[in-house]
Symmetry: C2
Subunit: 303 residues, 2 copies
């Protein structure tokens, strides 16, 4: 089934203990689409400036990613992000952010994308997420990401968004900030009361917590790879694997079992992506590797 | 089978966001023995001063804990610890430590305990751990705990200990400190090279990582209880559940499957213990509750 994603496209400069990559391709919609495209056709919506050095057709060559929603905006500049990961690679410092085109009007959702059944609203201003969602005619499963900036500065808009979505994906620190609760399970349950029927709390190297509105919870550790080179995009890759799997199911994508499996697929995809810079890992890895790691995840938690 | 444990007995003063308990019973051998006693007979070895206000016979009434190794030392004072847990209950500050009797000679292992097959050496000076282990005639499975103090100040003695034990249990920060490796899987593999055939890395609320000398690894999340009142002794309760289960097995306690299951039992026991101060949770909880949580752990990770 069709999966639509809206989000950022970025020119990233990333420093990690394992090297530096200047002006490489990044952004939530990019990481998401690559991972999701192993599972289902992806409808890509995002905007760059005319300075964008990347040929996204080339990037997604051979992948089922429809770029009809990619806008190259005249007179605008592409979003830029620079960050440094510390020796403890779970810690990072943001060195530079230039919102550029992201601070302007959002891209239009093309007419032929408006019937999308599966929608992922990557992190941006919750008002924009609502506006983008409003352009969909009959979405079946809508999941959004958010961040501390909107939790702190746009609580009313975020509240409006939460009432309209099926699932929310966010970090552990964001879940605590949103609810004022230090216990993650309590925090996730509080978020459920705000609207979504499920919440996925991403804990980085510590894995993921899922809480659903029927009181079920699921905890999955991250795959403990020794070969972490660049964690940038791990969360969006996770979301891409998760939503891609759900959209690829013929029926009942909202069952407990399907959501749990989707989280394992997202975890598997993210564990691969962080083993190289930018999207480089996908030059050598594909669905076979995702499936292998999915099975390893199952084996490593069995008792 | 007989399980022997040596460790500390303490008078604890604990502050958490949920209350304060002054001069309550604590110490590694106490927490360990209570949890282990649900699985197997426990041989308790520890020393207190003559000021000790606790009647340990009363504490372990109805539990199969042999206190023949409990020494009440004349003229000495009992170990004291005081700590404050923060709003994020995973963070704590040590307010006061008085080693007292722990800084003196260790207790003697009673003659009738020296044939113990299962031995847990709770955290103390690694030289003492070696000395205590030397009093055992033919242990079958020896597991030790350690801490940053010994890693930093007694590396030679610790190295000697690691060559003599089957398993090491330690925190994530300690595993990183011991090996100089930031990646936990790499760190655990490096520890295996130092001697133990398995390493259990405790990650607090994030669960546990097991690495064995045949290259296997196992990751188990913590049970996400909402009702954490006092995490003191969680690690020792975990070790008690783990070692208790292993010692309770008729055969093959070192198999991959048995060690994985033992970690799940340790996790189940610890998740209960932290729901009240000191040993109070065990006034209302027992093996039925441990078994229930063991099964819930299995359910919550299934996909």
């Amino acid at each position: 089934m069709n999966l639509l994603v809206t989000g950022s496209i970025g020119i990233d400069t990333v420093k990690t203990p394992f090297g530096v990559r200047e002006d490489c391709l990044g952004g939530s919609v990019v990481y998401f689409s690559m991972a999701a495209s192993f599972f289902t056709p992806v409808r890509f919506v995002g905007v760059v400036g005319e300075d964008c050095p990347f040929d996204l057709k080339e990037v997604f060559l051979g992948r089922d990613v429809d770029l009809a929603g990619l806008e190259v905006r005249k007179g605008s500049k592409t979003f830029r992000w620079a960050g440094t990961y510390h020796e403890d690679i779970n810690e990072r410092t943001t060195d530079n952010v230039e919102l550029n085109v992201l601070a302007e009007a959002p891209p239009k959702i093309p007419a032929q994308f408006q019937d999308s059944k599966y929608v992922f609203l990557a992190n941006t201003h919750p008002g924009l997420q609502i506006e983008l969602l409003g352009q969909m005619s009959e979405p079946k499963l809508v999941v959004a990401d958010t961040m501390n900036l909107w939790i702190e500065n746009e609580p009313a808009a975020l509240k409006g968004l939460l009432a309209k979505i099926d699932g929310l994906v966010l970090n552990d620190s964001e879940a605590k900030l949103l609810t004022g609760k230090q216990n993650l399970l309590t925090a996730a349950k509080d978020i459920i009361k705000m609207g979504p029927s499920f919440v996925v709390v991403k804990k980085g190297e510590h894995g993921t917590l899922l809480v659903t509105d029927d009181g079920d919870f699921f905890v999955l550790p991250a795959y403990p790879t020794e070969d972490v080179k660049d964690p940038t995009g791990a969360g969006d890759t996770f979301a891409g694997g998760m939503m891609g799997y759900l959209a690829g199911q013929e029926s009942c994508p909202k069952t407990k079992c399907a959501i749990r499996q989707s989280i394992a697929y997202g975890t598997a995809a993210a564990s691969l992506a962080i083993e190289d810079f930018s999207l480089n890992r996908w030059q050598k890895a594909g669905m076979v590797d995702i499936e292998r790691r999915f099975k390893q995840l199952r084996t490593m938690i069995q008792f």
